[in-house]
């Protein structure tokens, strides 16, 4: 029923299991973190925070208990890479978490799996049990005296906002998934107020690869500021939707060629919270310094109505806003009303500019990253497709 849809083998498939963990445990902690830092790996969930820096901060924090948290609350519309990684390469992820535990001095890992992926749970439990059996989890991991580490799985309950790291921690603590103010960051006061690293599923898998193949290998791929490879979830109007592995810095045009999406009129990069890039800008690159993404690529063919796309994304945010802060809670319904006016052809340019200004306010004034990015799709669609969305006559779709 679930076909993983790999278009080409991923690097993950070529990595020898447990070689990364053994290489990590053979190093002193500071060398291990230095290796991760040297690779310049940045958070693969989309925020792009340097992993080595995060680990260094958590390692330096003084505490009796620390936590390694894997964010598997993959809820961004258009993203499904973590599901595939957990299905086919769960060992690499758990290995990366174990490496993280050794690096920061933690002996508890938590995988926060979204409720929608409950069907993956038996498989993941089996992988964990097999690792315990082999001595790769538990007491003296892989024979390393004094390093104990185990991983438990906690389930989400259907809240998109829990993909935000502080909301995820709130949820683990048994509270509503409402993001916290940052700072303080989770590396100081994370789960149960203890230093915690929260990393994406893919980030942990890359850490394992970096330990096997070396930071120089990783750094040689990509651009100066965006190193390495990135797993992309491609869907929408293209011949071969599925999971792809691309070097960062690839142009959108090249990517479209690879997925059979040439002729698209726009591509949504980064899911509902990302940007909608029109065909005229397909020479831009996928990189943290240009168009940044957690891996969601949605291709829109020439016949798609971009206003319908904007409506779908705004309906999503109206429902998934946690409701804690005003710009996101009240701003998104207001933008959605604006889309309704546009659909009826009753939105003046003056009012559209007001809505754009509201969107910019939301970007600045929302409390968490998700709220700040919620107007992105709307703003980029009204900017890039003005001719298409304005002056509609009753009942017209583009």
């Amino acid at each position: 029923m679930i076909t993983p849809n790999h278009k080409a083998p991923l690097t993950f498939a070529s990595i020898e299991l447990d070689a990364g963990l053994k290489a990590a445990l053979a190093k002193p902690r500071s060398d291990l973190i230095a290796e991760v830092t040297a690779s310049q790996l940045k958070g693969r969930g989309g925020a792009g925070f340097p992993t080595g820096v995060k680990w260094n901060l958590a390692a330096a924090a003084q505490a009796d208990v620390k936590f390694v948290i894997c964010n598997a609350d993959e809820g961004e519309p258009g993203t499904f890479k973590d599901r595939v990684i957990l299905t086919d390469h769960a060992d690499l992820v758990f290995e990366g978490m174990t490496i993280g535990g050794y690096a920061i001095g933690s002996n508890t890992g938590i995988l926060y799996l979204r409720g929608e992926y409950t069907y993956l749970r038996p498989h993941l439990d089996a992988v964990l049990a097999a690792r315990r059996q082999k001595g790769l989890l538990g007491k003296n991991v892989a024979g390393k005296q004094g390093f104990d580490f185990d991983i438990e799985i906690r389930m989400g309950s259907g809240a998109y906002v829990c993909g935000e790291e502080t909301a995820l921690i709130e949820s683990l603590e048994g509270c509503r998934g409402e993001p916290r103010n940052r700072p303080p960051f989770p590396v100081d006061t994370g789960f149960n107020n203890k230093p915690s690293i929260v990393n994406n599923v893919e980030t942990f898998a890359w850490v394992t690869c970096i330990l096997v193949k070396g930071s120089a290998w990783f750094k040689a791929i990509g651009t100066q500021r965006s190193t390495g490879l990135k797993i992309m979830s491609v869907s929408g109007d293209c011949a071969q939707p599925g999971i792809y592995e691309f070097p960062l810095g690839i142009t959108i045009a090249k990517m479209l060629e690879a997925v059979g999406g040439v002729g698209a009129k726009a591509v949504q990069i980064g899911g509902a919270s990302g940007q909608c890039i029109p065909a005229s800008e397909f020479n831009r690159t996928i990189a943290y310094e240009d168009v940044s993404t957690g891996g969601a690529i949605i291709v829109f063919g020439p016949h798609r109505d971009m206003l319908a796309v904007a409506r779908n994304f705004l309906e999503f945010f109206v429902e998934e806003s946690c409701g804690q802060c005003t710009p996101c809670r009240d701003g998104n319904p207001k933008l959605l009303e604006g889309v309704e006016l546009l659909e009826q052809g009753r939105c003046s340019m003056r009012y559209l500019n007001e809505l754009a200004s509201l969107g910019e306010t939301m970007q600045v004034a929302s409390k968490c990253g998700l709220g700040q990015s919620s107007p992105n799709a709307f703003l980029s669609i009204i900017k890039n497709f003005k001719g298409e969305v304005m002056g509609r006559t009753q009942g017209e779709t583009h």
Partner: protein, 174 residues
């Protein structure tokens, strides 16, 4: 709720708190267990959990009302969640939705009168390359067509024992 039902729920909650630990971070796992077994989290259940954890029942209610997979209203034995996000939308989720409504005789957000099916929208199920996608309890269906809807519902109806899908899931655990 019958007194005997209340006692059963209370003893279940005690059992789950033993398993997950008696602190606040056990709250959501315990609520998830209640939801799974009883298809709802009753006010009584929330009070028992609150009492055992030493927090106010309103705190428990605030958590239950926040998460879309937790509900204090009774849900059907089979909760159908159709993905409404953009990729599934572009692959024809509207027609699947229409067929689900016709075959079940209910709208989204409702439960059939026999208490078997609840129909809901879901936001991105992570099956964007194989849409339209929907979850029936924990089982995911991909590339659903309007013609498949009847067979999927019949497969649910034919299962004897109301927790058929869940018990399959538990076997996987063991």
């Amino acid at each position: 709720m019958l007194v005997t039902d209340q006692e059963r729920l209370k003893s279940d909650i005690g059992k789950w708190l033993e398993r997950y630990g008696r602190d606040r971070s056990a709250l959501i796992p315990v609520l998830q267990e209640i939801q799974k077994k009883y298809s709802r989290i009753s006010e009584y259940g929330m009070q028992v959990v609150a009492d055992q954890l030493g927090i106010h029942p309103v705190e428990v209610y605030s958590v239950v009302s926040f998460y879309s997979f937790l509900d204090h209203k009774p849900k059907g034995k089979f909760v159908i969640r159709l993905c409404r996000t953009i990729s599934c939308d572009m692959q024809g989720k509207a027609r699947v939705a229409q067929q689900l409504k016709s075959d079940l005789g209910i709208d989204f957000g409702e439960t059939t009168r026999d208490g078997k099916f609840t129909l809901e929208w879901a936001n991105c199920l992570g099956m964007c390359d194989q849409g339209p996608a929907m979850l029936v309890n924990d089982v995911v269906y991909t590339r659903v067509t309007p013609a498949m809807v009847h067979d999927i519902l019949e497969a649910c109806r034919k299962t004897f024992g109301v927790y058929a899908l869940e018990s399959k899931h538990e076997e996987g655990h063991a």
